[in-house]
Symmetry: C3
């Protein structure tokens, strides 16, 4: 059973940089499983900057929705999934059964041969959003992080670019 790691934190807290370092420490080359779609200029710019930082030690596997299939298809090298929150957002807009998809992902983890590092986001520590959809998505993201946190071997929180190990405790 391969190691699985969940990395969470606020916006621009250094999650992706930490995740890239951790993934490469588990084997090279690694696979960058991108859940983003370059749908607008802001996102395209962010993806381009990420790619420039990653360099030649990475292959990219783009999958806005089929995360479980992507992990099965790439199960010979360490994977970095960036990020869970965008995947969840894609599932919601595609009107997929996100709870079933998250459960399937958690069930898949113990069957994998190669490690997986997930990047996710803290979205639930601000004031309660006035917008009902935002409130619902905040709940979805929180539940998903809980389920992945239970399923993964390690959970890390990024604060000001610095990693803090949450699970296992005392590390």
């Amino acid at each position: 059973m391969a190691k699985s790691i969940l990395i969470t934190g606020g916006a621009r807290s250094g999650k992706s940089t930490l995740a890239e370092r951790m993934t490469l420490s588990l084997g090279r080359p690694a696979v960058y499983v991108a859940t983003a779609e370059a749908g607008d200029a802001e996102m395209a710019d962010r993806i381009a900057r990420h790619q420039a930082r990653r360099g030649l030690e990475w292959r990219t596997h783009a999958t806005p929705l089929e995360l479980c299939a992507a992990l099965r298809a790439t199960d010979s090298a360490p994977r970095l999934v960036d990020c869970v929150t965008l995947w969840l957002s894609n599932l919601m807009f595609a009107e997929r059964d996100w709870e079933a998809e998250v459960a399937a992902l958690c069930d898949l983890l113990p069957t994998l041969s190669a490690p997986v590092v997930f990047v996710t986001n803290e979205l639930g520590s601000g004031i309660v959003p006035e917008n009902a959809l935002a409130r619902r998505f905040r709940d979805m993201a929180g539940w998903t992080n809980q389920r992945l946190g239970a399923a993964c071997d390690e959970v890390w929180l990024c604060v000001a670019g610095q990693p803090l190990k949450i699970k296992p405790p005392g590390g």
Copy 2:
């Protein structure tokens, strides 16, 4: 002097589940001190799901405002107060002197015979709200968490469903 514990974290970070486990570990049956009012469908649904999860080891004591009285009236079994933020919101809408109520709560803690576990929320780690009332409530919640954090024996932060001990340090 009975143990008092403060559990904080973002939305859907696993605070209530952790609080229920900690409260039951301090004695059974326990008392669920509910500060929520089932005022709308979203909240009624949330309360019903919480009750379904708690089962028969719990008695429920509902009190949107009179938290100190509720803790005095139930001081023979461990209490779970869920949650401080809703209590504060109820105090604000009832135009009560919330600072005096929080101070009274902190003063009450060392006089109690049975333990108390408080659930509260992190509301202050998002962008500054444009709405002045939201900004004020965010400040109120932060101050209240500080005061309870100082008054309680333990403070825990939930991240992706995993508990992290903040106070006492090094634990």
Copy 3:
């Protein structure tokens, strides 16, 4: 090379109180480097409350923009910079090159003779703001915290008024 410390946390999480205690523990009297401008009643009130709490062991050096110059000019006593987020906001509104200013600040730190304690804010753990300017500022603040987190000797997170050491780890 003098010690540098970054203290972060949500609104009203106890950052300033912790920062004041840490700064005074590094030497007295200390210098309070205020980046706030008393531009509206809410902020003026906040500044007045901060000053009342600080008392006579502090000198105040106000600088909405010229933080590097302020640190060079006061380099014989411990400094508390409160706060980085307001400085960044002032730079943005003055249309200054904030990335260059943050880089200059990080370069300055190893050259200082007296210690510096920075207070900053967690702004990136709520739901993604709908407002593009808020989104941009959230990114700016996150990057700045990362850079300062890398440059400083210590990073602390305040939760419910309680300090948690993030860097160096295991402390």
